[in-house]
């Protein structure tokens, strides 16, 4: 049974993958530990536990964050998406499918974080966000093409000890291309 809330713990409701979870958390509990140790959502991985490796990346309100530096109590009221929430039934998310098809991993430990991060990278790029690899950040320069250099820079918060970067890059590039085509298709449909 969950302990009663005290001055150093709180009863919270966490909205994860569209489902509400009620639990009492010690304030020291990170979102990462709440997911893994309390809610059995072990797809999100603990790597460094200091915000340096990206293995614990999840989406909070659609934005990628590291769950090891996010306190569970502070995550209340936000929509959290973990790797378990990406597929549509048996149909994998296009980014998951691209990683699978192109071997975007070796041991697989960093993969859930890589995939969550890649989904956000594609959306950030589609929204016109520049990166440190963007030569001209001024809005008049237009959105930068998603070159391999741009993908490497944007994915640099996710380390892969196996060094599967070559195929990770290919998987992100393919998924980004599919996303752009799908978006273009929709735009054409609505203007037709």
């Amino acid at each position: 049974m969950a302990p009663a809330p005290s001055s150093t713990s709180s009863a919270v409701t966490l909205n994860i993958n569209g489902e509400k979870h009620h639990l009492t958390v010690d304030h020291r509990t990170t979102l990462l530990d709440a997911l893994r140790e309390r809610l059995d959502l072990t797809g999100t991985k603990k790597g460094c536990d200091q915000g340096q490796c990206g293995a614990c990346t999840v989406l909070v309100d659609g934005r990628r964050t590291v769950s090891c530096l996010n306190l569970a109590v502070a995550a209340e009221g936000h929509e959290i998406t973990t790797v378990e929430g990406l597929a549509d039934g048996d149909r994998l998310h296009p980014v998951q499918q691209a990683f699978l098809d192109l071997d975007g991993y070796q041991c697989g430990y960093c993969t859930p974080g890589q995939i969550c991060s890649a989904i956000a990278v594609i959306e950030e790029h589609a929204a016109g966000w520049p990166s440190a690899a963007t030569e001209d950040v001024r809005p008049e320069a237009g959105p930068p093409p998603l070159t391999p250099e741009e993908i490497r820079e944007r994915m640099s918060g996710n380390l892969c000890r196996c060094g599967a970067y070559v195929s990770i890059l290919q998987a992100v590039a393919r998924a980004a291309g599919e996303h752009a085509e799908a978006t273009d298709g929709k735009a054409k449909e609505t203007t037709a």
Partner: protein, 330 residues
Amino acid sequence: MREFGYRRARDVSGALALLAADPDARYLGGGTNLVDLMKAGVERPAHLVDVRELPLDGIEITPEGGLRVGATVTNSDLAAHPEVRRRYPALAQAVLAGASGQLRNMATVGGNLLQRTRCGYFTDVSKPCNKRAPGSGCPAVTGEHHNHAILGATDHCVAVHPSDMGVALTAFDAVVTYETPDGPAESPLADFYLPVGDTPHRETALPPGALITGVVLPPAPVAARSRYRKVRERASYAFAIGSVAAALDVEDGVVRDVRLALGAVASRPWRARAAERVLVGGPADGAAFAAAADAELAAAKPLPDNGYKVTLMRNLMVAVLTELAEEATR
């Protein structure tokens, strides 16, 4: 980690009241630095006042033509904002040069200004450190200091400020606004960070209990042509070993206006005013840029293992100013 209480503030006055209720309380923003330091035992707050959801998340153009940036604006939103990218491109570049996409989504402008040094002695509670435990000594002076300060340091502390964003804000004369128990106040960023002296544990002019509410950038037409260049030990996702934020306005080969600030060389973002004085009204050429860099670095006092930074910063200043001058003639 020490147990702690947690409250979420709904408005600025509520946040100040919550903080005042407990002398061991701290404000929590994105948590990317504070939570990390709590895990390491460097920070041991008894209470966290979560200010992340305060209504301080706007970026707006001021009547004077500058920008007002709220304290809870994330690094991501700051760097993506069209007016930041148009009016102060070096600021967007500086923010994008820091941390990772995940951390920039969490980290706030207010928190970025207050982030602590990454000196390995500061973050290791088993070691002495005058910043963490005043009077205990500074092992970095004779120890591991290849990435430590060459300007403005003392024997009491040679740590550097880790912010990229702060370097660009310093170049553009940003003013920090904050709320104190006695009402609103403000401080130019140049005065916000205190000199090291013999009190390295006192880092900012922020009074006890005060909450940063935002940053105001005065209008600076020169900033429209600006750049941030960062040198680090790997291509991405690392703190700087040296960085430069620069803006340059050139007419007929003569420097009309210039802004120059340096990162990872001092306990605070370092405004290179000596270099600026050499440059204004003079020729915009390599010899002048080198003379300006030398003027700034004349005060440098490198340690046995960071002398490379003097050369690095000289080259970096010359390179960035040269690029900006070339851009001006296009």
